[in-house]
Chain length 189, copies 2
């Protein structure tokens, strides 16, 4: 068991959202993936995060948000760039947004620790997806922190969209990237 | 395989550092646990984190750091409080410090995304430890962000100690805490 588990952790790799094709997880698999998040360290039941699915029916609207964000950031962006921004909304068979719930009244917990909890929750989801046979990837970008996106997602003032999480079937069979051994990032006092 | 893996994710629970008794992971197991961190999303090889082991020989010195941090924060702390702060350094059979490497020159990546990567790396370590038969827990506190602690850990100006990670054998056999289902933190647009 332990060997299999460590192998699964090592096997999971990032797949760009553009290459996360159908089939993605259906409702039942997605519920299991999301349920894994609840088992991450949550800072004593604080659980400073939530996840929002952007279903197929809302992808075109997400594309409008991407296009608007690009226009605000680069008013000179040409039609090709705007179309590319809009097209990003169609990427990933299954697309979620990871949201930090940074309630300042919550226990005086530093925001850094809330983000670490979010990262742990996301990793549980990526690994659960891998176990269920789905590839995954994370993506971010300037559009996440715009008023238009906040409106689209229905975020409260103390919430922030941190990244996209995509699930699907990898378009290619690339092997996992070579990763550094512990010597690169582990030392002893 | 998938069922076993999802079960392991669900089974892993927080154990307070005080209750993480010997035996902890030996050198070989610790190397495997730390190696799991390298497989977390690292923002395109940025890998904005590192981990530092506080071995047995340095626990007394860590106790001095805790005592000094308490004295600075609460100059009126009595001898009992100071002894308790010092004793914390002996907790957890195996004790690591998680460090955010927040190089501002690194790709203009938001600090929030670096912290999410750190959280994912930590979760991989917690799950690897669980797979290898070791309990684990996270801890933080005001001492982490003091000049004395930074000196002790040898941090660079762009590094920050985010939390402690403990590994060991659980002093009790408590079952995992009940966790909320997806409805508590998952919605669809």
């Amino acid at each position: 068991m332990d060997e299999q588990f460590l192998h699964l952790i090592a096997r999971r790799r990032h797949v760009g959202l553009r290459r996360l094709l159908a089939p993605g997880p259906g409702d039942a698999a997605l519920q299991r993936i999301v349920a894994a998040a609840a088992h991450a360290p949550d800072h004593g039941t604080l659980r400073p995060w939530r996840f929002i699915l952007v279903p197929a029916a809302r992808r075109a609207a997400l594309g409008d948000v991407f296009a608007a964000a690009l226009a605000a950031r680069r008013p000179d962006a040409d039609a090709v760039a705007r179309a590319a921004a809009r097209d990003k909304a169609a990427h990933a068979a299954c697309l979620l947004v990871a949201v930090l719930v940074d309630d300042p009244q919550a226990h005086g917990v530093p925001a850094a620790e809330k983000l670490v909890s979010l990262g742990a929750a996301i990793q549980n989801m990526l690994l659960a997806a891998e176990a269920l046979g789905f590839a995954s990837g994370l993506a971010s970008g300037g559009a996440l922190d715009t008023a238009t996106m906040r409106d689209f997602l229905g975020l409260a003032p103390h919430e922030a969209a941190i990244c996209f999480i995509g699930f699907g079937t990898a378009a290619d069979g690339k092997p996992p990237r070579e990763r550094p051994g512990p010597a690169a990032f582990f030392s002893s006092l």
